[in-house]
């Protein structure tokens, strides 16, 4: 039984795919209770009488992360649980209230989606033969009610073009006739409500669901890792996997394999796994594992942090270790990177909310993370030879990165800030230990960030082996023929801005224009072309010989800038707010979107072209016809300065090349306009 999709509708619906490829729905009656613990049950005897009479409350014992508790099982909804909370003035501790029921059912039964029931969840192989169809729609759903073009790729490719109602009706027909298991569709979550409105109006049946039913997921904006994100509302079809290829982070990073693995590990339908963040996925995975192990999941966290002095907090909560790099260019450098360092520390040092006060017991977090860490090691090893493991590896990387962050999240079901602090404390010791070890073996440590060291010396294989022996953690090595650590404005080395040529001839780039998401394509392409030349050279001396060719790219790009397509100069940013107290370009872009009738929400990505930076005049990407040449020149100069630094001989003073040396073309001959004033 291969579970393709799950849902809860007065019982659990399992959409199972057999070996012949036919998908059938199995409905299982299921009404699990939530659990209630009261410190003083006698004080609430009247409420308990009602719960017993109306909701089948029965005394029981259940196991939490920390201990066994006496309490009651109650067959009721979340609304009832919230009423109990209020009635008891939040004395009641509640468990298993907000666990997804289909997920809970599968965890209790030991089954999971996207895997054979006889196979292990923790193997990197995914055996499936799903009928897939990819729907590409070039129109923008925010500006077009119905698409006028679509390309549908299944066994063969069909192109639809014409009036919106005809294209959408034909698209419905194609989906119905192909009957796919998986639909990969651009902007699916934005299109589907529009398609449904069209279907209702014209008496058509929207064919994306296998039984005509859809689950509604509302839109929301939220903070994640210091930035505002936005999730579109979604209509989720039953019995079929629908992935929004533009919005799904998991699909973008891990592809279909990543989505299916996320679903298998978390026990969620692939439709949900594709729409959730890695943080929600690792949290769901922990919930699945807790239910499977008979541990109840708290509704609200009760283990609040104890009061501590600010000095104690500062001493305890320092984050990861950094060694500031000396800016410059360095040859023959090895990057030593600990694989999944924080999760590995959790596993190795048995760090879990319940083990901090009870060192002897086996921790929940280490127990559930150990198989995921092992799986990541396996996919990381395999992806070098087989590309199909790369998506799963990336998905696991993200899930494991966020599992550490969740230990410090105030609402995490199985988090505790002291665990977060203990993990970073161990990581600092390990990085310093590794640095000492490297230096004692004659290596020079150039730079270090949290779980990564850059060293010069040899033999690095011996160092790698010794690190494994001393720290008990696995570290991978990447050799750079040369690497450039860039300076900050004050001349000190930046922690996270560097680029270099790897041993295999590829470039590794961090923190500069070519890597940033908001860089206009025109500038990104310019920097990438520079790197293509620079990566031909294996030595710093060789690099110096290509300086003029690289600079030539900059000069040409500057000269051709006035003739550039305005869309290639679009800046794409995720907005954190929709109201701005000061005038700024981002605020102007939000207003420009509104002026075009497109509503924006915090966390949404917008794409705009600067028409006049001084006057804060901005156009949405689709309507841009002119752009502010001096503004874009300044962006190009910044991008060039990062590259020019490599030709400065590695000293502190880079070879800053100013644009006034260059002959600028006549703006009058160009379609672009130079703002006046």
């Amino acid at each position: 039984m291969w579970i393709l999709d799950t849902a809860y509708r007065d019982g659990v619906d399992l959409w199972c795919r057999d070996r012949n490829g036919s998908v059938t729905r199995k409905h299982v009656a299921y009404d699990p209770p939530f659990y209630l613990h009261l410190p003083d049950p006698a004080a609430h005897h009247e409420m308990l009488d009602v719960l017993e009479a109306e909701f089948g409350a029965a005394p029981c014992t259940f196991r939490t992360l920390f201990s066994e508790l006496e309490g009651f099982s109650v067959h009721g909804s979340r609304q009832l649980a919230e009423q109990v909370e209020q009635q008891t003035r939040f004395d009641a501790r509640l468990f298993n209230v907000d666990v997804r029921r289909d997920q809970q059912f599968m965890a209790e039964q030991g089954i999971f989606p996207c895997g054979d029931d006889y196979g292990s969840r923790f193997t990197p192989d995914l055996s499936f033969d799903l009928r897939q169809v990819e729907i590409r729609i070039p129109d923008d759903p925010a500006r077009t009610p119905l698409c006028t073009e679509a390309e549908v790729t299944g066994d063969r490719t069909e192109r639809l073009h014409g009036p919106g109602d005809t294209v959408v009706a034909d698209l419905f027909g194609l989906v119905e006739s192909i009957d796919p298991d998986v639909i990969l569709m651009s902007h699916a979550d934005a299109w589907l409500p529009q398609f449904r409105a069209f279907a209702h109006k014209n008496g058509l049946e929207m064919p994306f669901s296998r039984n005509g039913k859809y689950r509604q997921m509302s839109s929301r904006s939220y903070w994640s890792y210091g930035r505002m994100e936005h999730k579109e509302a979604a209509l989720i079809p039953d019995g079929r996997v629908l992935i929004d290829t533009d919005q799904s982070f998991v699909y973008r990073e891990g592809g279909l394999f990543g989505v299916l693995m996320a679903s298998r590990l978390s026990g969620l339908s692939p439709n949900l796994a594709a729409r959730f963040t890695p943080g929600t996925l690792i949290s769901s995975y922990e919930v699945y594992e807790a239910v499977k192990r008979g541990i109840v999941v708290p509704f609200r966290k009760a283990d609040a942090e104890t009061v501590r002095k600010l000095t104690d907090l500062r001493a305890a909560d320092r984050g990861g270790m950094m060694f500031q790099p000396e800016p410059g260019i360095f040859e023959n450098v090895d990057e030593i990177d600990f694989t999944s360092m924080y999760p590995s520390i959790i596993v190795k040092y048995n760090l879990s909310p319940e083990t901090l006060d009870n060192l002897g017991c086996e921790g929940f977090l280490p127990a559930v993370l150990a198989p995921v860490v092992s799986l990541r090691k396996e996919t990381k090893r395999r992806k070098h030879n087989e590309a199909r493991y790369a998506g799963i590896d990336t998905l696991l990387k993200w899930m494991l990165v966020t599992c550490f962050g969740y230990t410090g999240y105030k609402n995490a079901k199985f988090g505790r800030i002291e665990v977060h602090e203990a993990i970073t404390a161990r990581s600092r010791e390990i990085l310093i230990q590794t640095k000492d070890l490297a230096e004692s073996m004659g290596f020079t440590v150039l730079h270090g960030i949290v779980d990564c060291l850059w060293v010069q010396g040899s033999p690095v294989e011996e160092l790698q082996q010794r690190i494994g022996e001393v720290t008990g953690l696995w570290a991978e090595c990447e050799h750079f023929d040369w690497i450039v650590f860039l300076p900050l404005n004050d001349g000190f080395g930046a922690y996270n801005r560097y680029y270099g040529r790897l041993f295999d001839g590829s470039m590794k780039v961090r923190g500069i224009a070519a890597r940033r998401h908001d860089t206009p394509d025109y500038i990104r392409t310019m920097q990438q072309e520079m790197f293509e030349i620079m990566q031909e050279e294996r030595t710093a001396a060789g690099l110096a010989t290509v300086r003029d060719r690289v600079r030539g790219i900059y000069v040409t790009a500057l000269q051709e800038l006035p003739h550039a397509d305005p869309r290639s100069l679009a800046i794409s940013r995720r907005i954190s707010r929709t109201r701005y107290t000061h005038r700024c370009l981002e605020g102007a872009a939000v207003q420009a979107y509104r002026d075009c009738g497109v509503e924006v929400a915090p966390g949404m990505k917008i794409s705009y072209v600067i028409r006049d930076a001084r006057r804060y005049q901005v156009d949405p990407e689709w309507s841009a016809e002119t752009f502010d040449i001096p503004y874009y020149r300044s962006l190009m100069e910044k991008a060039w300065n990062d590259i020019a630094y490599a030709f400065g001989g590695g000293g502190r003073q880079p070879e800053w090349v100013v644009q006034r040396e260059l002959v600028a073309p006549d703006p009058a001959s160009s379609p672009a306009r130079v703002p006046q004033g």
């Binding site: 890792y225 600010l310 000095t311 907090l313 500062r314 001493a315 909560d317 320092r318 984050g319 270790m321 950094m322 060694f323 500031q324 550490f404 962050g405 969740y406 230990t407 410090g408 999240y409 800030i417 977060h420 602090e421 600092r428 310093i432 004050d490 001349g491 000190f492």
Partner: protein
């Protein structure tokens, strides 16, 4: 994730900016050594944050370390 309060590293940056403002107000002869001192104070702030709870402590440690490093080794033999 975790909490948000001024770390030693951010504290060093903020103090260094203050020292730089002071530097600009010094007379011309003292500006260069004061600028150099601020640089020395920032030099080891990343490593110092591991042990120091106070940004000022980290900066003073870093500056003294650099000054000591740049001293002539023969100074060690001078009888105080």
């Amino acid at each position: 994730m975790g909490r948000s309060f001024l770390s030693v590293r951010l504290g060093v940056r903020s103090l260094a900016e203050r020292w730089e403002r002071v530097t600009k107000r010094l007379d011309r002869d003292n500006r260069a050594p004061a600028k150099r001192l601020t640089g020395l104070a920032k030099n080891h702030s990343s490593e110092a944050f591991f042990g120091c709870d106070n940004p000022l402590e980290a900066m003073v440690f870093s500056a003294l370390l650099e000054i000591r490093r740049n001293q002539d080794p023969e100074d060690d033999d001078v009888d105080p």
